[in-house]
Symmetry: C2
Subunit: 469 residues, 2 copies
């Protein structure tokens, strides 16, 4: 291995955006010997004590951890994370159903705080002497030839032009760098909104909502789980936080029966609506009506574009290149994988930036498409299928096969969340496995037999034949 500490010597890398991807990318670039200038539109979160932006809970999994590991930050971040090893489904009658994510008890997705993680990454970037982070910088223009970025300092009102050798748009789903690409000609682009929006609510610690604190280690619900209230076209989920609260998120259509426009602004109506649809959660949410009225409805968008780079000088990473819906918990994980791959391409191309960008987009674009599609599909699974007995029966077949043929059978969810095999491959293997499971379910229909010892054996036998075929 060559020494990489100077392959970008005397170069300036300009990163638009000091969010999760931008901060991590700064950590990847700094050791290559370049100057890294990070321009962030928002104020310094270290001064204000918080980071704005989207606040949907983050589930850190294998790809994200791998991305952090590349700059030695995985342990620091995981120390402040809560592992979630299963889904717990809450039915309308309050019945709970567990669905483990994996046969391997080590496998978990990790609930982390977006603002805390952003702070960790920002501080890690700032520790590098070659990294400079400027806040309150609104990107006005991007010149793809120079390349350079014109920014407005929103504190001083001053405009300035920053030249660089490489400009990276890590500025999120509404990227200003991508917007400049969009009007620069021959740039394919789409943004597609769901008919659903999201709104966050809160479950306080057990003691604050009348739950015995000894029951769940101070939490109001089992903490090492992702809780889902699947309701067909709508759902609520809850993820645990270190302070023993849960952040709940409603994913509801804007219009319809079980929808944002179906609930009036009367606190009585709000509580009545939740009593009807989420009765077991209502006692756990003493500030329900106030939170519902105070918190905004966020929209959910999928962004696809191509190319991801211009002239070997300007490129996009993370949400700027491929914003996805949050239902596979992969937005941040995919972005961190982008960072690690982009770094690897630059090292492998020995600092030849145009060659590296070309390779980077070639490798990553199909992966981004695959996870975008899987994330959309997983919404249907979470809000609807997980509540159905026929789905749970298929999950049981899947887990039985997974245990019986551990190398051969790996569910799509596990490949996406607990491995770093390419998303495209996870998608393909998922489709293949779904075919096998469907055939077994047809030949071995559910009839209360799945607790008999003979059932598992029959699944294994059918599975072996189908997998060998």
């Amino acid at each position: 291995m060559p020494n990489h500490t100077s392959i970008l010597k005397d170069k300036t890398i300009l990163i638009a955006g000091a969010g999760l991807a931008g901060s991590l990318l700064a950590c990847y670039f700094a050791p290559l010997g370049c100057r890294v200038l990070v321009l962030e539109r928002r104020g310094d979160p270290r001064a204000k004590g918080f980071v704005g932006g989207r606040s949907i809970n983050l589930a850190l999994s294998a790809r994200g951890i791998d991305g952090l590991e590349g700059v030695g930050l995985a342990d620091r971040v995981l120390a402040g994370a809560i592992p979630m090893r299963k889904r717990v489904m809450h039915s309308t009658s309050g019945e709970l159903t567990d669905q483990p994510y994996s046969a391997n008890p080590e496998d978990a997705i990790n609930s982390v705080s977006r603002s805390g993680l952003n702070l960790t990454l920002l501080e890690a970037a700032d520790e590098h002497p070659g990294v400079e982070i400027r806040f309150n910088q609104r990107v006005l223009e991007c010149d793809f030839d120079a390349p350079s970025v014109t920014t407005l300092d929103e504190a001083s009102g001053q405009q300035s032009v920053e030249r660089a050798d490489l400009v990276i748009g890590a500025d999120g789903a509404f990227s200003a760098i991508r917007m400049a690409m969009q009007v620069s000609g021959r740039f394919n682009f789409s943004q597609d909104y769901l008919e659903h929006g999201y709104k966050e609510l809160m479950i306080p610690p057990a003691a604050d909502c009348g739950v015995d604190p000894d029951l769940h280690d101070g939490f109001a619900l089992e903490p090492n789980a992702l809780h889902i209230w699947p309701r067909g076209g709508s759902m609520m989920i809850a993820l645990p936080n270190l302070d023993k609260t849960f952040t709940c998120t409603l994913f509801w259509p804007y219009q319809g029966e079980h929808a944002f426009d179906a609930v009036s602004e009367s606190k009585k109506d709000i509580r009545a609506f939740f009593e009807r649809h989420y009765p077991d959660a209502v006692p756990l949410m003493p500030t329900l009506a106030d939170d519902y009225l105070a918190n905004p409805i966020g929209s959910l968008v999928t962004v696809r574009c191509w190319p991801w780079q211009r002239g070997g000088k300007v490129a996009l990473v993370g949400d700027a290149a491929h914003a996805i819906v949050p239902f596979y918990g992969q937005g941040m994980n995919a972005a961190f994988e982008d960072c690690r791959v982009l770094h690897r391409c630059i090292v492998e191309q020995d600092g030849d930036i145009p060659a590296a960008l070309d390779e980077y987009q070639r490798l990553r674009k199909p992966e981004a498409e695959a996870i975008a599609d899987m994330a959309l599909e997983n919404f249907v699974e979470m809000r609807d299928k997980v509540g159905r007995p026929e789905f749970l029966y298929r999950k049981k077949i899947e887990q039985t096969l997974h245990k019986a043929f551990p190398g051969k059978v790996e569910p799509q969810y596990n490949l996406v969340s607990f491995s770093t095999v390419p998303y495209t491959r996870a998608q393909q293997r998922g489709r293949d496995l779904a075919g096998v499971i469907e055939t077994i379910a047809e030949q071995l229909p559910a009839n209360g037999n799945s607790d008999e010892p003979g059932w598992s054996e029959a699944v294994r036998r059918l599975g072996k034949d189908l997998l060998d075929a």
Copy 2:
């Protein structure tokens, strides 16, 4: 019928764009009693003597004529148009094949000059006392609540804010009004570029390229035709102009064998390339190499978006809402149909603008989708299929059926170009007819028999059975 001359009394309609759609729309709105303010980014073409912008030849057909007729301008425009009644295909060996557009000799698409048409519409709009047109006005922002538009006068450098009761974005494929919608939340949008670009060339009058002027009434080629040099992945077309020239347009991929990047900047190479692929056209193009080098390569984009209006106050028409590729000759025609439908909705809703916009977008969106898809499909037909015997055989079956069952069988091309039945219906009927033709072609394969009298009879007999089924 109520009197409509005052249904928009005391209202201000602001139209962004004084191109084809914007100018025509001003003519539609002015008689409703409102003030119409048209803001155009370019300079006044009456001062400069020309209109800039895209210059692909325009083929005015039934929908466009219908749109002009609604404001009494059809005859004026058609007086300066050249009817084209057939396609003439030019093979690589210089052989010509005619393909009439219709069994009805009255049916024609009409070659018109974009700049001349724009001037006519602009002057017609300006004749209305209630219409004011301002040039050199760049739209900087659009406030959807007011609604209002902030513009920069590029001549004086002055910014101003214009309030209105309705803002219409008629500002083309790269619409600034649509761009404002795009960042306003929950606006679905896509722009997709073809791998092909276009470049314009010129065939002078017969006398200037050594063709006998008596042969084609002073033209170098038959004037009442759209000429096509289909070459598989690439093509050239030529449309006649009033001054007895033809405007040729290359539609080539950017990269490949028969592509823009396959031709060097040497005049000798350019001529050699055309000698190889378009030998019969080379003698007709004395300025070929100079034109090739001087003229830019334009890109070809399909734009789709939704919704087309915001809050009942701001709406899109024409290319701003649905830019399409030019291969069905329907971009302008669809835009003019938008104008007529929008006017009708406002009249039918008795001046209730929000209700009219809602109805307008509900009616037009599926039509725009249909013609966008058919335009993409027609590119394959023009550049590739029209050169193949099996296609020409199917066209012959189609025309035989069309003649035999005139009310029942109307080819898709005819419904799109020579009628105003909805695009969606033309698309569906086209698909149905294609199925019938395919069945006949299978049962009656081409074997040089299509000139025998018995062949037509067999087609009619099979057609009758299939159509009655």
